[in-house]
Symmetry: D2
Subunit: 252 residues, 4 copies
């Protein structure tokens, strides 16, 4: 029988942390050995025998947490934001000195969302036209969403590399805002609607055909399969990986 | 056996006229008695015994065509644009003097599109949020589409009458255009994509639920069922009717 | 200032009841005066001064609850199942003797779902083809859903009344089940997918066009606007009303 | 300046052939040197200096056409059906003796459709649930479509290889056909609707999320970008390639 992964969750009282605790407990191949909240000592991880750390804390804490994990031979799966270029460089240095540890830093753990963005970018050079519609609950304060911006950037880069010209558009009379916003040449439209959570559609069009890649996130639970996939693969990916797509088998 | 309707098509060489000729010829309850193009004399209608006229000409011709039809006791189904308030007033006067004639002027003959707009307006007072996405081929020069503007106006009027507040929106940071344009308080987003024809989605959202009403127009043929429905009903609707919805049984 | 409605929730510890308690408490024009669970005495309603009762209990209790409410001059909004023809007849008799009370029995309180079914039935006589796709979570034990069956029946009745022939279908070679099931001549397809809650699409097709009416229920909260709408309207609808659509302004 | 590809279209009077002639004529990097119909001699290809052949003929002719092309040092892009295992083996033998010729045999030239199937198969091992809905015009005689069957087979193979269990389904009471048909364990639903052309949706679901990959084919023109892509790449792919995906850059 395979040994269970000994997992500790940091930030266990946060909204994501609560879900992660449940997900690890429910996974047959994992064992939750510690669940730390604000103020708990990292030494608890050693006593508990943790080999894997899930960091879902806050930007102020995440760097020290990951450093502690790596220095003690653990692997880390990180969903906390705040990893700027400087922090990433320092972490790479640390990992060079601890070559057996793996760290995954993922801005987005929703498998479907990561796949959708990758597919959209890959397909975009085969179509004349591409636009993005993202739809969220009306309490969201920014538009467009960060995921939509990243998707547009991936698409723009793929099209530029392939030498695909801009999407055709004969519009010469428009109400202000009708054609959405422009992210690196890709039009993005932001819908805000009560009842929704987080949704995104990439529309790709060519003569006589359309390809639509849509992702719906209904619930925070949608991030957990990605967290578990990260835990199962982080040990076999020593060093730093940024982005869950680094662990996905997307070669076709 | 029921007598066939004696139908003449004006503007028979135009794109819509060609479809109308085919549709009338294919309808078992109709007989095409004349198909007039630019320069043909309206007197041909009398020789041919036309009782019903379909006008799919140009703004410069349509008023004289309809006047001729009404003055000679025919009914008219009109898809030509250019009927401003002055022309409509004059036509109402003419019809008052010819009370047996019926005239239908319809800016949109696509049954599905007319139904979609009516349903969206009716539903809109029961939902907190409503937005419109319209999608067209990239050769379209205006944004948003005329149909989207009219749908937004119908929705805005229905919500105002019912005292429904504006759709909630917490956006405080946005790229220019991300949230679409504003038509009477309703957000409208215009997508332009190769491969598309004419499509519209009205999204209505409330706590935990969404209602979506979408219409796709793939082909000019989509207007013909509406033209035929107009011809079959115009005689029983003497006077002027503006909008195909006046002939639809939409009471629920 | 308008007086608040004095509302009691029966079945307040059930999943729906918990939502109803929250919704009534959050409504500015209502006051929650009682929240009864299994075993609580109905006499509590009198002491609390309840004028409106929301019954979200079980088939074994609902009839006695509604009888008590009507006999004591209250109005009742009922979401519990189990109201067969015999029970409805008895209730009509009771209401004839208590003509000031109103009772609404609604199998479905999701406004969007009720509207979607009504719109689909109304539109269906204008299109050659109609099919239904319903999509639910994979724990659902029956297929198709009750809502899909009712929608298909409404559509079938509307088309029969209008003399619309069956949807065209040239299929002569099919894998078993490919074309869905047949409900009164309407094809219904049932999708079961992890992550979904309750969703339904009615697809209507004619030459060159499609009308799609889709309802998504993401959350039990979607039923509460319908419950509140019922409470606000039940007093002005004395006697028995079956179906929330009886209170909706659907005339177009 | 790059030399234009000298292209001949075989089956030039068929529905696909007519589109191919137009597409080749419109492509700046190609020159149409011959357009052959039924009964025309293949020797015309030599006189015309054809270097590339598009075969859109019939199963009875395609093998001889391709053989002629290969034996005369041309490359061939083939959309005709009828290439069974025996014919493919013979063609491989022929190409072994003519190693500079490339032949592409593609059952489907719609880029978007090929991409959609590849993406769906790739994604399917990351989701608990997967189902397919295909939608076509009502004159189609078979259900499900060949593309849906192939997509289901690709998905089933990908999931089996990854050890993913069957999609969960608690259905224990169903009307006959409600849950669609079963293709290698994947549920497929076939909708037939007037107004549609050829459409397919793959729905993938996990906890709290859904990924939808949809392809719409509105028009035969949708096949032409794939034919042109085939022509542009066939010379650099000597030997036999089956399936347009062999030429697509799908590594992610």
């Amino acid at each position: 029988m395979t040994e269970q992964l000994a997992v500790a969750v940091l930030g266990a009282q946060g909204r994501m942390g609560i879900e992660a605790v449940k997900a690890v407990e429910a996974a047959a191949d994992m064992k939750l050995v510690a669940a730390l909240g604000r103020g708990d000592s990292l030494d608890t991880l050693l006593d508990a025998g943790a080999k894997y750390v899930v960091d879902l804390t806050v930007p102020d804490s995440t760097e020290a947490n990951v450093r502690f994990a790596v220095e003690h031979g653990m692997h880390a799966v990180v969903g906390t934001t705040g990893w700027d270029a400087e922090r990433l460089a320092a972490l790479r240095g640390l990992l060079a000195a601890n070559p057996e540890s793996g760290v995954l830093i993922a801005p987005n753990f929703a498998l479907g969302s990561v796949l959708a963005s990758a597919f959209a970018a890959k397909a975009s050079k085969y179509f004349e036209s591409v636009e993005i519609i993202e739809l969220h609950h009306p309490n969201k304060v920014d538009a467009p969403s960060g995921t939509a911006v990243r998707t547009a950037q991936l698409i723009a880069a793929a099209r530029e590399e392939a030498g695909v010209p801009a999407s055709p558009d004969a519009t010469n009379t428009a109400l202000d805002g009708a054609r959405g916003c422009d992210v690196d040449g890709v039009r993005v439209h932001s819908v805000r609607l009560r009842g929704l959570v987080a949704h995104q559609e990439v529309l790709l069009g060519g003569p006589g055909e359309q390809l639509t890649i849509r992702h719906d996130s209904f619930d925070r639970a949608s991030f957990m399969p990605g967290v578990l996939l990260g835990l199962r693969n982080v040990a076999s990916h020593p060093g730093l990986t940024v982005g869950l797509d680094g662990y996905l088998d997307l070669g076709l």
